[in-house]
């Protein structure tokens, strides 16, 4: 399982910049960043090379951080690639809470990050269907 950091942020000017600057100054390299927002607050989800170090940095800077386990799968970069993955998870009877994708630089596959209800069942179903579930080291090292 891959560790994703989730940060609770108020919607106020400069807050996201402060957060990313704190990570940058600590030499943390982000692989993916996704913001889910409402009118008042945002929930920022981050995949990076050193999640534990990043968490400490953010907490020291006064941010609210939680670590969440997510699944990362390699999806062929072609039409229908993601649909194949989601169908497998659906047929395993588990719900997807949220998902986001990023593309490896120079590669021909996309990485899909999934938060599912039952991670074990989903992982097993994906492996059975021949879909590559990435190990944490692989995802933390993407592009480096």
């Amino acid at each position: 399982m891959v560790t994703q950091l989730t940060v609770f942020l108020e919607n106020s000017p400069g807050r996201l910049a402060q957060m990313t600057r704190a990570l940058g100054d600590a030499g943390v390299n982000m692989r993916a960043l996704m913001v889910a927002d409402t009118a008042e607050f945002g929930v920022v989800r981050i995949i990076c090379d050193r999640p534990e170090a990043a968490r400490r940095v953010l907490e020291d800077e006064g941010f609210s951080v939680s670590a969440t386990s997510v699944i990362a799968v390699e999806v062929p970069d072609r039409p229908g690639g993601l649909a194949d993955v989601l169908e497998v998870i659906g047929s395993a009877g588990t719900n997807v809470e949220y998902a986001y994708c990023f593309v490896e630089p120079g590669g021909n596959a996309a990485v899909d990050v999934l938060r599912v209800e039952d991670a074990q069942a989903a992982t097993a179903a994906l492996r059975d269907a021949g879909i590559r579930v990435l190990r944490p080291e692989e995802i933390y090292a993407v592009g480096s």
């Binding site: 409402t38 008042e40 939680s66």
Partner: protein, 433 residues
């Protein structure tokens, strides 16, 4: 009890003592303070009552009278007899200045010794006084009482929270005296420092100087592993030591041998019977430096009818629910910040830190409650936060009978106070929300 001969005296004896002291006070105030001579003469009232019920016919004293008397014009004793001067913070206007004679300081120490004893304290205790020392009455007020009772007294004053926690641990503090919001900050700071207050000898808190709620008390007691009692006082009347809870935590016994308490209807200004809510009014019976007659505190509360299991005969003031000048009128409904605090205390996932923020939206006043998300909320999913927000909003609407916008803010983003917490922030003058 520190002074059982007074604290548990028969009501009839107490009332006889009050009447004797009241007439002494009226004569002293009329003879020595121009403000009183004028107000009594204008009202055509003699500075004398035949029974305690006569108090209700005397003129009131208000904060503006004390402001107009700045600095010393309402002192009833000559300056050579004054040994101490305190003053109010002046956050809401011109400061007011109060003076104490040596007799006042001695009686104040006795009253604070009563307060600490009624929280279960004795000469065996180590008292950490984290109220501010200085012009504010809190620090020195508690200090003298703790020494009078024979406690080992630590005059640390407010601020420098990490050091407070170190002292709490290293000095073996058994009783902590500070504002409730500061007690909470100390508990949080201890947790951050990896210190478990439950394992320390600390066993009681003497907390006051700002309104707080039962739910906040429960949280402080749980986090610090203590019994927390509420104390009440104000510099215009004395400072801390006017009223205090005993270990039964069912209202604050008013030191009625030194203070007459009345609850008056805020509109008609007539006294209301025990049990009914209104503005709290005090008359000092024994103060020499700056006595007050029927001083309108602007605090809202009531007298709790009935007797207390502790055996004190002094009547009990319910914890202050708010101040007439903190009261917000939101779409016609009277709202006190403490009511919001009470609601928040019952909802898991939100911290007891909140602010009521007033701003302008166009020409309309906009009210918003800012609430901190608790550190244990699994906030990875937006829907968790949305549920939390709608729950807070619904519970406030149901408890206060008016709906108020709720905004969730980051944990620890609301400024912690080392003294009195600022619960209402008025940004209406800043132009735009």
């Amino acid at each position: 009890m520190y002074q059982p001969e007074y604290e548990s005296m028969q009501r009839s004896d107490l009332e006889a003592l009050q009447l004797r002291r009241l007439n002494g006070l009226l004569a002293r105030a009329y003879d020595n303070v121009l403000t009183y001579r004028r107000s009594f003469d204008e009202a055509g009232t003699a500075p004398r009552v035949h029974g305690l019920e006569g108090l209700a016919d005397l003129p009131f004293t208000v904060k503006d009278d004390l402001r107009a008397a700045y600095p010393y014009k309402m002192f009833a004793a000559p300056m050579r007899d004054i040994v101490r001067i305190h003053s109010s913070s002046g956050t809401t206007g011109q400061v007011t200045v109060v003076g104490y004679t040596a007799g006042d300081i001695g009686r104040w120490a006795d009253l604070m010794a009563r307060t600490i004893a009624s929280a279960g304290g004795s000469a065996d205790d180590i008292v950490q006084v984290a109220y501010g020392y200085g012009l504010f009455t809190g620090g020195l007020g508690v200090h003298y009482g703790a020494e009078r009772l024979g406690c080992a007294t630590i005059p640390i004053s407010g601020g420098n929270t990490k050091r407070q926690v170190q002292v709490l641990r290293d000095f073996g503090t058994t009783i902590l005296a500070c504002t409730p919001s500061y007690a909470l900050l100390m508990a949080e700071t201890a947790a951050e420092m990896g210190i478990d207050p439950q394992e320390l000898p600390l066993r009681a808190g003497i907390l006051g100087a700002e309104p707080w709620s039962e739910s906040m008390r429960a949280q402080i007691e749980q986090m610090l592993g203590i019994t927390a009692v509420d104390i009440y006082g104000l510099s215009e009347v004395l400072g801390p030591g006017v009223a205090a809870e005993c270990i039964h935590q069912c209202g604050l016994h008013v030191n009625e041998d030194h203070f007459m308490i009345e609850i008056v209807d805020p509109v008609t200004l007539r006294p209301v019977p025990d049990g009914q809510t209104g503005e709290v009014v005090f008359t000092t019976l024994t103060k020499e430096g700056i006595p007050v007659i029927r001083y309108r505190t602007r605090d809202i509360s009531r007298i709790i009818p009935g007797e207390c299991a502790c055996g004190r005969t002094f009547r009990r003031l319910e914890r202050i629910t708010g101040r007439t000048d903190d009261m917000l009128i939101i779409r016609g409904v009277n709202v006190f910040p403490s009511q919001i605090e009470q609601v928040l205390g019952g909802i898991p996932g939100v911290a007891p830190h909140y602010q009521v923020v007033l701003s302008k939206r166009g020409s309309m006043d906009h009210v918003e409650v800012h609430v901190e998300v608790g550190p244990d909320v699994p906030f990875d999913e937006v829907k968790t936060l949305e549920h939390l927000r709608s729950r807070v909003s619904a519970e406030i609407a149901s408890a206060l009978a008016v709906s108020i916008a709720v905004r969730l803010v980051e944990p620890r983003s609301i400024q912690r106070s080392e003294g009195k917490a600022q619960r209402v922030v008025d940004r209406r003058g800043e132009g735009g929300a």
